[in-house]
Symmetry: D2
């Protein structure tokens, strides 16, 4: 039986917040498991917008980044109206793919952060015909700078 | 203040079923309100597939049917694992638009049907440039036949 | 055939923003119709939090506010990465129910706001047994103050 | 960097079908990544209903099964109106947890099945106080019988 992944964030870590709505929760009173992949999208998108190239600009360059692999480890449930912190870091950049790590925390009223979820997504760079294609130079330059030690 | 719509089904009524999953519910223990619009889509799509022209064929004819108006009246909540019946009828067909009425029932264990939700959606026929366009003849012929007395 | 509702905002209007993610869109390249009800929830929730009583506090007072009726009029599509403004106003407060009006705009790069969607939701106040119950006094006092001329 | 999981189905394999709606897709023209976790829920729920104990019965026995870990490997995209086959197998049962493997196929018009997605979810059995609790005897007996060789 496969063991669990170890997922750890690496500096630089991008932080953004999200408020849980009823539409995110389920009848068990907690956030429905699939919705954490939405939160991962928010973290990744805002990190790219602020620190590299907005996804919408990449689309104009003719490439999109579908997810090829995703993993989530659930530690504790998020609940209705929680103010979540989505922490994102880019941990790997290759010629046609990259990997983001995520951790989601609840900001408690006393300011402490409780870890709720950790996970990763791997993404591939594909062109409009759906074929693997290298990241555009402008993108590669910016995202490489976000990975502590570039792995090839 | 505007009054509520009256929404009634008209023969012929198409029926299909859907099983509620956790992902459809919210922390109040019931189906989240937005998801009934997903159920309306299921009813409308399966009715069109069985009795007229599949949506995917219409796309190949170069037209799509975005929703221009939607209305839902919530009578009683659907819950996790409910087996729902989605009843759909096409009540109006015009040159570039149409309207579906829906009612969603829970099939109780004794076979009775409890009404949970009623509603409608209006749809417009647009081409690939996003402009209003008449329904293709083949589509118009088939959907007109589904409306008791065609309203113009 | 029922006519469309007229939906207009009334002062005071609460404004909040939301960034469209891929998970909100559909294969037609636009925001999926059901998701506007999620945006309405965001508008209503944040308005109540800022100007009246947070939903989570109402839950602690033993009441929840299920939607009894919803209506959406779609004018123009929202798209991936749009920064939306959700404008919300409380237009009616009764003893056990209330109604919110919403308008969703896209903030264009030149600062103009394009209207995309208008709609309303009616909500009922129910207790933990699921029965209609008057708004708690504290809530009634605050929400009544948000309606220009209280309608009974 | 962690390597990918190997995920393989084991007999007995439960199969159920699901039709992709617009609400499942995104602006890239494919099913949005998070929705595969909804499909996994459908596979797991229907397998349990048919071959073991319905989830709703387990709730009545006082236990729920939150997901503690999920993994998805995306091979090829599902698209609007695809008729998907969700293949599910229970590969591990322990005292307070279990693991399901999934594979999602598109049934092509010529009858061939194309693999789109593989993945797993691990679940824990918890009681109404949220504490880990052994599966009820009746449940354990039935689910153990579904695992080729019980792993402890």
């Amino acid at each position: 039986m496969a063991k669990s992944f170890s997922v750890s964030l690496q500096e630089p870590i991008f932080r953004t917040t999200y408020r849980v709505i009823y539409g995110d929760t389920d009848a068990a009173g907690v956030v429905y498991n699939a919705n954490y992949l939405r939160y991962f999208e928010i973290g990744r998108t805002e990190m790219m917008r602020e620190w590299a190239v907005p996804y919408s600009s990449m689309e104009k360059m003719g490439c999109v980044l579908p997810i090829t692999e995703s993993y989530i480890r659930f530690k504790a449930p998020a609940r209705y109206d929680d103010l979540l912190t989505i922490a994102t870091s880019l941990v790997q950049v290759k010629r046609v793919s990259c990997r983001f790590h995520y951790a989601i925390f609840r900001t408690e009223e006393d300011g402490r952060e409780q870890l709720l979820v950790k996970g990763f997504t791997s993404l591939a760079c594909i062109n409009t015909e759906g074929r693997l294609t290298p990241f555009p130079d402008e993108v590669m330059e910016k995202i490489s700078a976000l990975v502590p030690k570039k792995e090839e």
